[in-house]
């Protein structure tokens, strides 16, 4: 969308209320997704209603946003503006669901639901969580399904995906959520008519499935849209056995939406890595391993939601971290400001350490120092945003650079000693650093998690 096309529909009063110098400047920001229409007060007036409608249509994301709701929580999926993250940034991180079924032993059901909603990992100041529960009907009995959904809703506020090919079963499940808007799974070539009625009657988002058949999928979308269903999600099929087809289909769908303006394909994509568990003669660890490989490919290649089966921490941890990584804003700087940072209340005998200005390195070190309650000075060396190991290898962390940083930060005036604790991964520069700086070097731990213990044991007793 070009700025001039957007400009045509703006009020063109150059009132500057949006904070830009002109409507043209605002249009440029809109075109780059750096501003939103609500920043333009005149446009919200009744006389501009038509223009606002036109602009909303022009600026709508190529991948529609769909909401899954419990009574208290909403999870949004899709709403993607670009195919590649460097073109802007990805919004609405891939929602991860863990599956249960309606013939599951009560205890197992409860523990799986608890494991899902209780999952949490602290990572650079964020909590990484799981998002949804997918409830499958293996009984194909509405009553059984209803009871299971009721149990789950009593236990968790996470929104649900209800899974059955039988519309009667799904209806019992929707009612049992007591006012939620679960994602329905799924309308197929066989049942689309009843599923459309269900989605319309309860105003729920609906998944469309036509495994490994994009023409069928697109035809279903067309038909369901014509039937009046607004919120649709695509399930193109996932299989460990046909891995290249799986990834290929996800890629084609997203490209059709983002680069070929294919509105029918401009919908969130749901992937079901849980599919790997259909193989019976394979060890569970191997299946979980495969499930993670598949999921990591699908997070990388455009999945907006995933249904998974494993609840193993070692399997889910890399995935939630990967998702966090892929959904960070690639435009934000990776580095923190170099210089001297003070932790706790250091005095003239407190330790001096250094690290690099790579944001992840810095925050990891800072959080280890803080949680260990170490009073100290930390010199942050400008390594152009590289970690210790990469910076040493890439010669961005050299003895003279560290020596310069010691001088520039004036840390010499803060303490009455000349001993520097250096990262274990920078051990190889220690000799040269002692020569250049005149400080003596204590080689610290390989990982910053060892800093509190290191300071406690080695600092007081240093030679």
């Amino acid at each position: 969308m070009s700025p001039t096309e957007i400009y045509k529909h703006l009020p063109r009063t150059n009132c500057k209320e949006c904070g830009e110098d002109s409507c043209m400047a605002f249009a440029t920001k809109l075109a780059n997704w750096e501003a939103s229409l609500d920043k333009c007060p005149p446009l919200q007036k009744p006389e501009y209603r038509n223009r606002l409608g036109t602009l909303n249509e022009m600026l709508k994301p190529p991948v529609r946003e769909v909401s899954l709701k419990s009574k208290t929580r909403t999870v949004k999926i899709g709403g993607k503006l670009v195919m590649y993250r460097h073109e802007l940034t990805y919004f609405n991180p891939t929602a991860i669901a863990i599956d249960v079924h309606d013939e599951m032993d009560d205890q197992i059901l409860t523990s799986r639901v608890n494991a899902t909603q209780g999952f949490s990992y602290e990572y650079i100041g964020q909590r990484l969580k799981l998002d949804l529960i997918a409830v499958r009907s293996t009984s194909n009995d509405p009553k059984t399904f209803e009871l299971t959904v009721k149990k789950i809703v009593a236990q968790t506020e996470l929104p649900l995906i209800l899974c059955s090919e039988n519309p009667d079963v799904l209806e019992a499940g929707i009612v049992a959520t007591g006012g939620g808007k679960p994602l329905l799974y799924a309308a197929s070539k066989q049942n689309w008519k009843q599923m459309a009625e269900l989605a319309l009657m309860y105003d729920c988002p609906l998944t469309v499935t036509s495994p490994f058949d994009l023409e069928g999928l697109k035809s279903l979308v067309k038909t369901l849209k014509e039937s009046g269903v607004r919120e649709l999600v695509l399930d193109p099929g996932v299989s460990w056995k046909t891995l290249p087809d799986t990834v290929n289909n996800f890629t084609m769908i997203r490209r059709a939406a983002c680069k070929f303006d294919d509105e029918l394909m401009g919908l969130p994509i749901l992937g079901v890595p849980a599919q790997v568990w259909v193989e019976e003669d394979v060890k569970p660890e191997v299946l979980a391993w495969r499930e993670v490989c598949l999921s990591s490919m699908l997070i990388t290649r455009y999945a907006d939601a995933l249904i998974m089966h494993t609840t193993e921490g070692w399997a889910l941890l890399p995935l939630v971290v990967l998702r966090q990584n892929m959904y960070t804003d690639p435009r934000k700087p990776v580095a923190v400001e170099p210089g001297l940072k003070v932790f706790g209340q250091p005095n003239e005998a407190s330790p001096v350490l250094f690290t690099t200005n790579f944001a992840l390195t810095y925050y990891t070190v800072a959080s280890d120092i803080e949680s260990g309650k170490v009073d100290c000075y930390l010199v942050v060396v400008d390594t152009e945003g590289l970690s210790v190991e990469s910076a040493v290898a890439g010669r961005k962390l050299t003895a003279d650079k560290v020596a310069d940083s010691l001088k520039e930060t004036d840390v010499e005036k803060k303490v009455k000693h000349k001993t520097l604790i250096i990262p274990g991964r920078a051990a190889r520069i220690s000799g040269e650093l002692e020569e250049l700086s005149g400080w003596s070097v204590l080689v610290g731990p390989m990982d910053s998690s060892g800093i509190p213990k290191f300071v406690q044991e080695k600092w007081a007793n240093r030679a």
Binding site: Y7, F212, V221, E226, K259, V278, V321, L360
Partner: protein, 403 residues
């Protein structure tokens, strides 16, 4: 006849040309006349409508479809002006070396595994790291190499024969003046041991000291003329003429390494082209571990590959990744709270996920460490490179699975 009728309808005749003219107008001109243009566009659209039989779309509520409305789906294929060069690592006897086989990477004409366009002509290669002295390794890795950790030949043999390394990635870290300061002559002896121990091609890495590495590379390049070793790596702070000339004149290939910066990657290549043919350069734009900057590594690789395909001549090279860096993530090696499971699983899976994501960014040459990660990645590569499989008819079985 048609020509005549067009002449009679000046608006219709003008139509296509006005659209052409409009598309060529600059922003300023558009700004000045935007309302008029709006009208013009309407007028232009009217012309063909009058020439066609009047079919009015139905207004009001549409009836709901009774049967499936069929829609075609055409694979969204694009054209790319650029092609990634092919680089061959290792030389067989008939090619002037001593390897059982050589390995060719690169040659792509489409983004990674866009199989609906053009499948990659070569499989990405998986190499395994071997070090020339005892180094600190995560326990999940060490347990597999404990007995050979001071014998690079045996380590390489295990990596190639047991774990299926396509290439052995030997790191001569002991040459580091700050470590053992091994002499180039000694280092060359280690290379010979490893070449004797395995049949697969070999990559030879230095210690990161620009001067010492050149001295070692020169010696090794001369001693093994014709082997087409992959030198790992040449960097911007080296004397590039000196570094490149002995590698090239003795028939080897190299990795051009830059720290996560596409401009620097271009600059290094541009400077190398003075001494090195394009098809002898693999590029490494730096790999960061999952959770420790993988997003930056991924995006720079993805952009690099797309730029190459879109015609940027300085980025049309196979990509190399030090995937072993995955082990820098503490989640890969650290003993954690029991809910995060045994690190013997977590570690290799961390390396596997890092590799898998980078495979989709376009990496052609992986340097890896853990046998389980290598095995998984090789399986994935095999799957992707053996083409599309067709539908899995049993996909929906997951719905009613009683697991």
């Amino acid at each position: 006849m048609r020509e005549e009728s067009k002449e009679k309808n000046p608006l219709e005749a003008l139509g296509p040309r006005i659209l052409e003219l409009l598309s060529d107008l600059g922003e300023l001109e558009l700004e000045d006349v935007e309302m008029e243009i709006g009208e013009l566009e309407l007028a232009v659209q009217q012309a063909p409508v009058t020439a066609l039989p009047a079919v009015k779309p139905p207004t009001g509520l549409k009836p709901k479809p009774e049967t499936l409305l069929l829609e075609a789906f055409k694979p969204p294929v694009m054209e790319y002006p650029g092609k990634i060069v092919e680089v061959t690592i290792g030389a067989t006897k008939s090619e002037g070396g001593s390897r059982f086989n050589s390995v060719t990477i690169g040659g792509e004409t489409s983004p990674p595994f866009y199989l609906f366009e053009t499948p990659p002509p070569h499989r990405p290669a998986v190499s395994i790291d071997v070090f020339d002295m005892k180094i600190h390794l995560a326990s999940a890795v060490r347990m597999h190499v404990e007995d050979v950790i001071e014998d690079p030949g045996e380590w390489a043999k295990r990596a190639a024969e047991k774990w299926g390394a396509d290439v052995i990635n030997l790191h001569l870290i002991s040459v580091d003046p700050l470590l053992k300061n091994t002499a180039p002559r000694e280092a060359s002896k280690t290379v010979e041991d490893v070449l004797q121990a395995v049949k697969v091609p070999l990559a030879v890495g230095g210690c990161g000291d620009p001067e010492k590495d050149i001295a070692v590379f020169k010696r090794v390049a001369e001693d093994f003329k014709g082997e087409r070793l992959l030198f790992n790596s040449v960097t911007l702070d080296m004397n590039l003429k000196e570094a490149a000339e002995s590698i090239v004149s003795n028939g080897h290939v190299l990795i051009a390494f830059t720290p996560m910066d596409m401009d620097k990657a271009r600059e290094l290549n541009r400077r190398l082209y003075e001494y090195v043919e394009k098809d002898r350069i693999v590029i490494d734009t730096t790999t960061a571990a999952l959770g420790y900057g993988l997003d930056y590594a991924f995006t720079i690789m993805e952009r690099t590959r797309l730029a190459g395909l879109m015609g940027d001549p300085e980025l049309q090279h196979p990509l190399s990744s030090g995937t072993t860096n995955a082990w820098a993530a503490r989640e890969a090696w650290m003993q954690m709270d029991p809910q995060w499971g045994p690190r013997e699983f977590r570690g290799p899976l961390w390396e596997t996920v890092t590799a898998t994501v980078l495979l989709l960014a376009g990496v052609d040459y992986f340097m890896m460490m853990h046998p389980a990660a290598v095995k998984t990645l090789k399986t994935l590569i095999e799957e992707f490179c053996s083409g599309l499989k067709g539908p899995d008819e049993n996909y929906l079985d997951w719905l009613t699975l009683k697991t």
